[in-house]
Symmetry: C2
Subunit: 141 residues, 2 copies
């Protein structure tokens, strides 16, 4: 758990103005890993009830662009955000309930995978999504 002062430094480090909506969104993403936009709006409004949804969308975009948060969006899901950035970790997604958990990099380097034939593309990231069933959904009811 980080303090508001930490978030302020992170924003200044990214050359973003320090505003209350931004501090609140940053805190919400840190507190609720893999939360979708709606959940983040809810968390932010617990502290700043008047924040518009558009502001949250704008802030999330700014934070994503500067790399302070990472946006993930498995097929069939809405956009989700997390604060764990820079370590190229991956995700497991439950096919049944959609819950997401972190998985460390399969090999240990960034990027941790190399395409066997890159089709002439210059590749800068390998994103892995593991699909399966979470413990709760695979448990006999």
């Amino acid at each position: 758990m980080r303090s508001s002062a930490d978030f302020e430094l992170m924003l200044r480090g990214a050359e973003l103005r320090v505003t209350r909506p931004r501090l609140a969104v940053l805190a919400a993403v840190h507190d609720h890993p893999h939360a979708d936009t709606d959940s983040i709006i809810g968390a932010v409004r617990r502290e700043l009830p008047e924040v518009s949804h558009q502001a949250v969308y704008d802030v999330l975009r700014a934070l994503t662009t500067t790399g302070l948060v990472r946006r993930i969006q498995p097929s069939g899901s809405v956009a989700r955000y997390e604060a764990r950035v820079g370590d190229n970790h991956h995700h497991v997604v439950c096919r049944s309930c959609g819950s997401i958990a972190d998985v460390d990099c399969a090999v240990g380097h960034v990027p941790c995978l190399t395409a066997s034939n890159d089709q002439g593309f210059s590749i800068d990231e390998a994103e892995v999504v593991y699909w399966g069933m979470c413990p709760a959904c695979s448990a006999p009811s």
Copy 2:
């Protein structure tokens, strides 16, 4: 390029009724790998002008459910479909223009990757998306 008779056999093999919309969608997906729904609707209507968009959505869902086509949806993209199924290959996506190309499996087995810590999930598939720039977009203009 497969014939209409092949597509008919594929549908029957999947226990789906053989209809003209389904044959046309199947042909369109085979002819236009990684096409989005709108492109597929366009391709289908070149042959069957009266097909509704809802029919195409329904058919794509049926084909995806039975495994005759595969649905892919990189972050920020609409749903796309391809007919190459069952070999667990992966994709490179251009950050600039969104174009997609196939990449063979990084290791060669299905699933070709194993999560280092699976968080208790039972994993049945590892999906890899390589992000980068396609040859056209990275060329000096």
